[in-house]
C-alpha cells in the first residue's frame, strides 16, 4: 500500500485550501460567537468545489473519489474552522449513492442539500440502534419506522445532528418493530418533520434537533452494513476536521513560542514548552496516520473500516483536545482571553469530542472490534 498523497490528492487539498482562504473563516467564527446568525453558510463553497459529488460514483454523475479524498477536504475545513457541512453531506451522499437514489444528480449538482441524520450501530454492550440522548449517558432509541412498500413512516427525535439546519433532504435511520434498521430519505419540508437549529458553544458548528412525527419518506435500498458505514464515515470526517484544527493550534503555538521571550530566551527553547509542543505533534501525527488508515480501509479493506474510523476518531479527538489546551498554555493568559483565536479552537474541540456518541465511544468501539477479532 502506498501511503503518500498522489499528485491529484495534493491538488485537491491545495484547491480546497484556496477556496476556503477566500472566506476569512476564522474572522467569521469570531463574529458568529457574538451573533450566531453571522456565521456564513459555506454550502455554496462546497457546491462550487464539487464536494457534494465527491463520493458519488461516476455512473451517478459524481466524481467517484474515495473516502481518503473526502478526509483531505475535511482536514482543510478543520484547519480554518470553516463551516462547510461535510459531516452531514458526505455520509448522506454515500447512502444515496449506495441506494442509487433518483435525487443523486440534483445533489451532485449542488441543487439539493442533503444531511445525514446519524444512528449508532449496535455493539457488544449496546444491542440497539441508538441516537444521541437529549442529556446523559443512556442513549435514545433511533426513530421508530413502519414500512409499507417503498414508503417509510418515522416517529422520533434525533438531537445534535451536525449540519441539519438548511438541509432539504434528510437521510435518516429508523428501526422497525422487529428491530431492523431502515434508511429513509425524507423531504425536510414534509409534514411531520421539524428541524430546530441548536447552538452549543462552538459557533462554527451548525447543529439541529430533528423531530419526526409520522413523517413519511422513500425507503433507501441499503442494508445495515451501509448504515454502519455512514456512521463510521461521519467519525472519520470529524477526525480529519479535528486533525486540521490541531495543525493550526500547533502552527500558532510554535510561532508564538519563537517570538515570546522570558528570562532572555525564546520560550520555545525551554524544554517544558518544547516537549508540550512535541506532544501535540506526536498526537496529531498519530491521528493523521489513522486518518490515512481509515481513508484507505473504506475502499480497500471495508471490514477494517469500523476499527480504522473509530481509532482515527479516538486519536484525533484526544489530539485536538490536547492541542487546543496546549495553545492556551503556551500563550499564557492572553490565550484564554476573548480576543485571542485560541478559544475558537478550544470551543471546536469541546463540542467535537461530544458529538456522535463522543470520542470515548469511539475508543470503546476500538476495544470492541479488537475483542471481536481476537482468537478465542
Amino acid at each position: 500500500m502506498n501511503f503518500a498523497l498522489s499528485d491529484e490528492q495534493i491538488l485537491l487539498r491545495e484547491s480546497a485550501r484556496g477556496s476556503l482562504s477566500r472566506h476569512h473563516t476564522i474572522a467569521a467564527a469570531r463574529a458568529a460567537l457574538e451573533t450566531p446568525d453571522a456565521l456564513p453558510d459555506l454550502w455554496p463553497v462546497a457546491c462550487e468545489a464539487g464536494w457534494p459529488g465527491l463520493l458519488v460514483s461516476e455512473e451517478h454523475g459524481g466524481a467517484g473519489l474515495g473516502a481518503f479524498d473526502a478526509l483531505l477536504v475535511a482536514e482543510e475545513c478543520g484547519r480554518v474552522l470553516a463551516s462547510v457541512p461535510l459531516i452531514g453531506l458526505i455520509p448522506a451522499t454515500a447512502l444515496l449513492d449506495a441506494a442509487g437514489h433518483e435525487a443523486l444528480e440534483a445533489v451532485g449538482a449542488g441543487e439539493l442539500r442533503p444531511v445525514y441524520v446519524p444512528a449508532r450501530p449496535p455493539g457488544d454492550t449496546e444491542a440497539r440502534w441508538t441516537v444521541e440522548a437529549a442529556q446523559g449517558l443512556r442513549r435514545a432509541d433511533a426513530p421508530r419506522a413502519s414500512v409499507e412498500g417503498d414508503t417509510v413512516t418515522l416517529t422520533g427525535t434525533v438531537p445534535f445532528v451536525p449540519d441539519a439546519p438548511g438541509a432539504q433532504l434528510l437521510v435518516a435511520v429508523g428501526v422497525t418493530a422487529d428491530g431492523e434498521p431502515v434508511a429513509v430519505a425524507i423531504d425536510a419540508s414534509a409534514d411531520g418533520v421539524a428541524v430546530e437549529s441548536v447552538f452549543r458553544y462552538d459557533a462554527t458548528r451548525a447543529l439541529g434537533q430533528v423531530s419526526f412525527s409520522g413523517a413519511t419518506g422513500r425507503r433507501l435500498e441499503v442494508g445495515a452494513g451501509e448504515l454502519a458505514d455512514a456512521w463510521y464515515l461521519a467519525h472519520a470526517l470529524i477526525a480529519a476536521e479535528s486533525i486540521g484544527a490541531a495543525q493550526t493550534c500547533l502552527d500558532m503555538s510554535v510561532a508564538y513560542a519563537k517570538e515570546r521571550f522570558t528570562f532572555g530566551r525564546a520560550i520555545g527553547s525551554y524544554q517544558s514548552v518544547k516537549h508540550e509542543l512535541t506532544e501535540v505533534l506526536r498526537r496529531m501525527e498519530n491521528a493523521r496516520g489513522l486518518q490515512y488508515y481509515a481513508g484507505w480501509a473504506r475502499g480497500a479493506a471495508p471490514e477494517e473500516f469500523p476499527l480504522a474510523a473509530s481509532a482515527a476518531r479516538s486519536a484525533a479527538g484526544a489530539a485536538l483536545d490536547f492541542a487546543a489546551r496546549a495553545m492556551i498554555n503556551v500563550h499564557g493568559g492572553i490565550g484564554a482571553t476573548w480576543e485571542h483565536d485560541a478559544p475558537l479552537f478550544f470551543r471546536r474541540s469541546q463540542l467535537s469530542r461530544r458529538l456522535l456518541a463522543g470520542t470515548h465511544d469511539a475508543t470503546d468501539r476500538v476495544a470492541e472490534r479488537t475483542l471481536a477479532t481476537a482468537a478465542a
Binding site: 501511503f3 527553547s269 496516520g289
Partner: protein, 286 residues
C-alpha cells in the same frame, strides 16, 4: 549481512556518553606505521556476543569541539584486545553487553565515512534505529496476546476501564503501524528517515508498556511468575525507553529539527573536547 548470515552490532553509547552521545571518550589513535589503536569502553551493545563485526564511534581528535573529532570504524569483534561482557538487567538476563578495548588494533581501511565525520554517520544510523524500534516492533505491545487474554476473561470484556485502556493502546499501536507505512513509502522514494521517526519510538514504547500493564492487571499476580511472558516484558520495557535516545532527548531533537523551535542553550559549543571535562568539574564545584 543483508541476508542475515552475519550479525553486526552498534557500539555508540558509553558510561559517560548517552543522551550526549558526542561526549564519547573511546579513543582511536592513528599508528605511525598505519592503522589505529583503540582504547576505551562501550555499553548497551545489543548482540555483541554474537556479532562478527561492530560499528564503533570513537574520538580521533580531542583538540577540536566534540562533534568534530569523531570517526566511525568497523571493528572485528574477535580482534585481540576486544572483550565482551554481558550486562544483566531487571529481568536477570543479559540482553546487552559492555565492550572493552585494550590496545585493539584496526586496519587503516576500518574507517567508515571519513576521519572526523563520525557524528554525521552516527546520526543516520540512529535514525534507522529509532525507525526500527518505532515501526519495526509492532509485536512488542503483543496486541494479539493482550486481546486474547482479555477475551478469555468475561469480567474483563465487560469492564469499562479495561475496555478504555485496551481501546487507547490499540489505537496507539495502529497509529504506529500506519505511520510506519507512511515512513516506508518515503524510504521507498529514497528519503532518509527524518527525526520524526523518534515520535514513533516514543509512542511504540509507551504503548507497549501500557499494553503489558493492562495484560498483567487482567491476569493478576500470576503475570509476574518467573516463566511468564508478561513478567519478561514488564522487566524489559523500562530500559527500552532510553534505547536509541531517551524520550527527553528525542523530544528536544524533534522540537528543534521538525518544529524548528530555538535550541537549548549549550555551554559546550566551540569548546575543544580536551577542555570540556575541566569545565564540567568546575561547574559541579560551584
Amino acid at each position: 549481512m543483508l541476508h542475515g548470515d552475519e550479525v553486526w552490532c552498534q557500539m555508540f553509547s558509553e558510561p559517560g556518553a548517552g543522551s550526549d552521545l558526542a561526549a564519547v571518550q573511546t579513543r582511536a589513535r592513528e599508528n605511525v606505521e598505519g592503522g589505529w589503536t583503540l582504547n576505551g569502553q562501550k555499553v548497551w551493545t545489543t548482540n555483541a556476543q554474537f556479532a562478527a563485526h561492530g560499528l564503533l564511534l570513537a574520538r580521533t581528535d580531542a583538540d577540536v569541539p566534540k562533534h568534530k573529532g569523531m570517526t566511525m570504524f568497523i571493528v572485528p569483534m574477535d580482534a585481540e584486545g576486544v572483550t565482551v561482557r554481558g550486562l544483566r538487567q531487571i529481568s536477570g538476563e543479559a540482553e546487552f553487553n559492555e565492550v572493552f578495548f585494550d590496545d585493539a588494533q584496526l586496519a587503516a581501511d576500518a574507517v567508515v565515512g571519513g576521519v572526523g565525520n563520525g557524528w554525521g554517520t552516527a546520526l543516520t544510523v540512529l535514525m534507522y534505529e529509532r525507525l526500527t524500534i518505532g515501526f519495526g516492533s509492532g509485536g512488542l505491545g503483543s496486541p494479539a496476546r493482550l486481546a486474547e487474554t482479555i477475551r478469555a476473561d468475561a469480567q474483563a470484556c465487560g469492564d469499562a476501564e479495561v475496555r478504555k485502556r485496551l481501546g487507547e493502546v490499540i489505537t496507539d499501536l495502529l497509529a504506529v503501524r500506519f505511520n510506519g507505512y507512511r515512513a516506508l513509502t518515503a524510504l521507498a522514494r529514497g528519503q532518509i528517515p527524518g527525526p520524526e521517526a523518534g515520535l514513533a519510538k516514543v509512542t511504540m514504547v509507551n504503548a507497549a508498556i501500557a499494553a503489558t500493564d493492562l495484560g498483567a492487571d487482567v491476569v493478576g499476580p500470576d503475570a509476574l511468575a518467573a516463566d511468564s511472558d508478561w513478567s519478561y516484558l514488564i522487566s524489559f520495557l523500562p530500559g527500552l525507553k532510553s534505547a536509541g535516545g531517551t524520550e527527553a532527548i528525542l523530544r528536544n531533537m524533534i522540537g528543534e529539527r521538525v518544529l524548528r523551535l530555538p535550541p537549548e542553550p549549550r555551554l559546550d559549543k566551540g569548546v575543544p573536547f580536551s577542555e570540556l571535562r575541566a569545565m564540567e568539574r568546575e561547574g559541579a564545584a560551584k
